[in-house]
């Protein structure tokens, strides 16, 4: 580190402040990868990490890369992640128990070892004087990068293009599902419903709407049947799986019943 302290490159105070503000945020958000349970939250934390990295790129005189980082990572890749999380199910959180014996211990050891190694290497390495990119970015950073990409590295660029195309096609093939049975039409659904009803396992009428007796926005409250018992399938599947079904307050029910009784009595009276 001492070597670098003598670097010819002057790092501005603004950048120092920026670093010390963003770096902890990035590390904290990254740690959620290890400790947060819900994938959606992790994905959002990842977005924060990636955006702060984009800022660091810009601070490191790589504005083109910083913008590309935001567009590609936060704009495309993380969105893709979110979509897949949605497809796979937001509830697909993992079991708490570790199935592989010693995996966490090995991971901890390996992580510690890696940190120590990197620190050791970093502390011993003879790094060159920071030179800055003022000269290289003379025609703006984008032009400089473009010169290299479309000049010296154009063949690599073409290769990468081919790789992307291949990946796209591969993803389509992987995600493509061959239809092995005829498409179910509206008419088929209706017919099935009636058949179920005929065999006594279903009903022709739509499912009861949730929250009939609730006093607030009650999509999470089950409907009650005539005997006052909750009808579980009146709540949407997602809420049920998430375990976000509202608790039925028996007092409320009694109140409602009382009100109903009162009303009916009045009617009788009237």
């Amino acid at each position: 580190m001492n070597v670098l302290a003598q670097a010819g490159l002057e790092i501005s105070t603004g950048e120092t402040v920026l670093f010390w503000v963003l770096a902890p945020i990035a590390v904290l958000c990254a740690l959620s990868l290890l400790f947060t349970r819900r994938p959606v939250r992790i994905a959002v934390a990842m977005i924060a990490v990636l955006v702060s990295l984009a800022v660091f790129y810009i601070a490191n005189e790589a504005p083109f890369l910083g913008v590309a980082q935001i567009v590609v990572y936060t704009g495309a890749i993380m969105m893709l992640f979110l979509f897949v999380i949605m497809l796979v199910g937001v509830d697909a959180s993992e079991a708490r128990t570790e199935r592989l014996p010693g995996q966490r211990l090995i991971a901890a050891g390996a992580g510690l070892g890696l940190i120590l190694l990197l620190v050791a290497v970093g502390s011993r390495a003879t790094l060159p004087q920071g030179q800055g990119l003022a000269a290289a970015n003379a025609d703006s950073n984008a032009v400089g990068v473009a010169r290299l990409i479309f000049g010296e590295y154009v063949f690599v660029f073409e290769l990468v293009a081919a790789l992307l195309i291949t990946a796209a096609v591969g993803a389509i093939i992987l995600a493509h599902r061959e239809r092995v049975e005829p498409k179910v039409t509206q008419a088929d659904l209706a017919r099935r419903r009636l058949a179920d009803y005929a065999s006594g396992t279903g009903s022709v009428a739509p499912r009861p709407a949730p929250g009939v007796y609730a006093r607030h926005n009650a999509a999470d409250m089950p409907a009650l049947d005539a005997a006052g018992e909750p009808i579980e399938h009146s709540i949407t599947t997602v809420l049920r799986i998430r375990g976000q079904r509202g608790e039925i307050d028996t007092d409320q029910i009694e109140q409602i019943e009382a009100t109903a009784d009162h009303t009916s009595t009045k009617e009788v009276d009237g």
């Binding site: 670098l4 994938p39 992307l164 796209a168 995600a175």
Partner: protein
Amino acid sequence: MSLTHYLVLAAILFVIGALAVLVRRNALVALMGVELMLNAGNLMLVTFARMHGGLEGQVLAFFVMVVAAAEVVIGLAIVVAIFRTRNSASIDDVDLLRN
């Protein structure tokens, strides 16, 4: 404050990403760990580019980014395909290499 700070930050992020791959069983989170590792590498590349005063590091980081995009697309497609057949996104459930 020096450029080494960036390198240290990148190292920390890299280790966190690696640990995520090792510890997390959700395939999506593991993939995100891989992304984090790649990004940590990119940060180092950018820092070194600045250190050396050349743009090659940035170009390499750019290519890494593109390749990472391709990798994520395929990885996620595999996750989706596996989820469809096994109704699970856990890496440990994909254990056909066993036996």
